[in-house]
Each structure stands twice: as structure tokens, then as C-alpha cells.
Amino acid sequence: MSDSSLIQSVNPYSTNDQLVKVALSRIDASLRKPMVFFFSASVIWLLLGTLFAMLASLVMHWTWLRDLFGGIEPLSFGVVRTLHLNVMAYGWATNAAFAVSLWIMARLARTEVRHLGLLFVAAVFWNVGVLVGIVGIFKGDMLSVEWLEMPAYATPILVLSYAMIGVWGLISFRFRNNEHVYVSQWYILAALFWFPWLYTVAQLMIVFIPARGVVQAITNWWFAHNVLGLFLTPVGLASVYYFMPKVLGKPIHSYYLSVLGFWSLALFYNWAGVHHLVGGPIPVWVQSAGIVASVMMVIPVIVTGINHHVTMIGNFGALKFSPTLRFIVFGAVSYTGTSLLGSAMALRDVSVVTHFSHFTVAHAHHGMYAFFTMVMFGAIYYIMPRLMQREWPSIFLIKAHFWTAAIGVTIYLVGLHIGGWIQGWELGKTDTPVVEIGIKMIPWLMSRSAAGIILTASHIFFAIHFFWMLSNSSALRRVGPALFQPTETVKS
């Protein structure tokens, strides 16, 4: 069955395969190689992205460091900040998103996993593409389009490898042994389908056949916001909808609400990106459409929030014993917070203060770190023991990782939201010299660097633990279908 050719697997009319229901442990074991590759790559990118983040943060307030790097172009703020964004978005986040979403897809399909070679090759090529793009930015080939800074020569590698990954996801969906399509599958399928649409349209209209004038800016922000909203957010939510009930052993509070949340997100999110251009030189009706869609996003957010939080009611004790749940719940709460704040920030009166200030940077980290990254950490803590058939070696490192990540990102968000608001407010006044505002920002930027140091420690804990687990063949091994069953522990 798994020997079917790729053509047979893609074309629904060319195969008569009988689907056999397969045990979860067998699916986990068969996925080990590509998933471990994706996760290892993502952890390495995370460390590299953290280094760039620290450099970008420190030069904002340490003038001696800025002077030291002054003559070295690849270390200037503009390059280092861009390297940070691209390494984190396409290296860390996307690798983790691929692994987590494809693992969930394969598990929910409950059948033999096919064409793993294809997935492995795609995983390697995706990372080659990201590396080519990052080196391109480093050596000065960066494009001046936010979220699309990678040079055009990296694009074909990324598109091709993404296509292979997407096709693999579709094949695992097509050969599912479960009539019902769980809400996580909806989110993941949509994410796999939306990303190539966004990426190809944006590349065509901005890089390969550039549109003129403000159309580029509109396309740019349509793309940039939708990478978050239509690719990473669905993967994050799919993970919450899978892991939260799985860890608790209790179905989600209301399945009806979860389906409503999915379809309303699909309807509204695509329009919201232009709120980045509120007040800019684009037609007012386009801005208004973006603002309306951003406010309409309150519907899926409230629906999803109610569902997550009500599922947790009465089960908070579980946070004590489950590492995965700690990260997932932190992420789910942050999703509600960042999304509601994002809707408010789209309003003209709020945007006039928050736009072009550190507030926007804080908001981006609220979504990408406090929500998405925390959910991915939780997912990795759940998946890795099942792939490797062994426990995480250290309870201390898990707890240290969680608390440093949670405290670090909280300091980051509090400091930069407040500082950003003050900055935006002052910039709106005509009587305050800009230099004074810059000096006023220094303590808040220092609080960001302090948070960055804590987050760096957190990532180092996580990386040490991750690679320790990979290499630790003498760790406690578990046999049998479900891990963590006390009766079936063996020491290898």
C-alpha cells in the first residue's frame, strides 16, 4: 500500500487501495526521521534568530555597540533586524509549523503514512532555501519589502519545497481512515492551501512583475499579515484544538463553536492586512474595509477563546503535571489577548498612536511568541517522546524553559507596550523634540533587552534539552501504544 506511486496518491481515481486502520504508535514511529529533521532545524534556527534579536535590541540603546558595529554593514540594525525576522518566521516558526501540523494530520488520518522520502527531501530543500535567503540578506541582496526580504533567487527553492510539503499533507488527508474531519484538520488543510496562494501572488506582484505605487504596499501588507493570520495562526489553533483535549483526555467544550471559529476566520482574516496602512496614501475605502474586517475578527477570537477557556475550567490542576498543557494554555490565553488588542489597534483613533511605535513590535511578539511559539513548544514536548519512544531527560530543564519563556515574554510585552504607547503619544504632539522622545524610550528598550536575555537563556535550556534527548539512548524507554503508562516502563 505504501508503495503506491506519487501519481496514484495524488489522483483520487487511479487507486483502489484499501485503507487499513493503523495504531498511533506505528504512525509516530514511521514519522520519526522527517519530523526529527524539521524539529532539529527549527531549534537551530531559533538559536540563530535569538542571536540576531539580541544584537538588534542592544544596538537600540547601547550607543558604544552601535559605534563598534558602525562600519560593518551586515551587523547594522537594518540587516540584523531583518535577519531576525526571516530566521524566526521561515526558519524556526515554519519548520515547527510543518512538523506539528503534518504530525497531527497523519495521526488524525489513522492510516499508513505514505511517501516519507518526499517529505524528507522537501524538508531538506526548505531549509536550503531559507539558508540561501538568509545568506542573501546577510551579503546585501535584501529586498526592501517587509516579510519578503529574501532575494528573488531563494524563492524557487522555497516554492518547490513548499509544494512538496503541501502535496504530502494533502495525500495524508486523502488517505484518511476517518470519515469525520476534525477541526484541526480543517485549519491545517486551509493553512497548507493558503500559504502558496499568498506567497505566489505577493512574489509576482512585488518581486517578479512589480506593480506600481501603492498597490505594492497593499499587496505587501495583505501578504505579511496573512502569513500570520492564514498560515501560522491556523497551525497554532489546530495544535491547541488537538493537544488541549488530548492532554486532558476530555473533548473540547463545544465542537460547534470550533467549526464556527474556523469558518469566520476564513471569511474575515484575509481582509484585515491593510489596517497596517491606516492613514496612508491608499484609498480610504480600502482602509475602512481592512478596519471592518479587523473588528469582525472579534467573532472567531471570542468563539475560540470561549471554547479553549471553558474546556480548561475545572482542569487547571492538570497544569501541574503536564508540560505540554502549560505551554498550550499560555499560548491560548495569549491568542485571545493579542487578537483583541489587534482588532482595537486597527481603529483609526488607536492606530494614530500605536502605528510607527514600539507598540506594534510588542504586538507582533505577543502573537508570534506568546501565542504561536509557546504553542509550538508545548507541541514539541508532546510529540518528541512519541517519535523517539523515550522520555525527556530532565524535569528541571522543562520547568526552567517554561518559566524563563513565560517571564521573559511577559516583561517584553509589558515594557514595549507601555513604552510604545508613550512613544506614539509623544510623536503625535508637535511641541516635543524627537530627540527627547528617543531618550525617553531608553529604559523601555533596556527592559526589552533584559527580557531578551531571559528568553535567550530559555532557548538555550530548550536546545540543550532537545539535543540531549535526541542523543540520550540510555533514557527511560517506553513500550506499548501510549507513552507515559506506568505499567510498561523498561530501562534500556
Partner: protein, 66 residues
């Protein structure tokens, strides 16, 4: 040039819209919107059944001594 953009964006937008409509139609025809609470239980099975938590700190399972 504008007609090129309109056709690129138009084709993509139409493809997107039609596939969304098709997905919604398929889901409705396939009974995906019926019996919602049963749908929520499809993530559980014999190996990882409902009612059994599946994640702990290593070696720290309540009521179990190593």
C-alpha cells in the same frame, strides 16, 4: 500592465473563492456539520481513550511511584 494584474489577482481570487465554496459544500454534503459533539470525540481511540490524560512530567505520574 493593469489588465495583467487584474487577470492574475482575478484568477487567484476566483480559484480561492470557488475552492472555499466547494469545501463548504463538500463538508455540508458529507455530514461534517451533523452530530457535532461526536465529532469532538474523534481524536480519542483505544490507544489514547477519552478520560485518560496523556501527558506528564517524566516519571511524575500521580499515584504512581517509580
Amino acid at each position: 500592465m493593469w489588465s495583467l494584474y487584474v487577470s492574475i489577482v482575478g484568477v487567484f481570487a476566483m480559484m480561492f473563492l470557488l475552492s472555499a465554496v466547494y469545501a463548504l459544500h463538500w463538508a455540508s454534503k458529507n455530514g461534517q456539520f451533523k452530530n457535532f459533539q461526536e465529532g469532538a470525540r474523534t481524536i480519542f481511540d483505544e490507544e489514547e481513550p477519552e478520560g485518560v490524560p496523556t501527558d506528564y512530567f517524566p516519571g511524575q505520574i500521580p499515584g504512581h511511584k517509580k
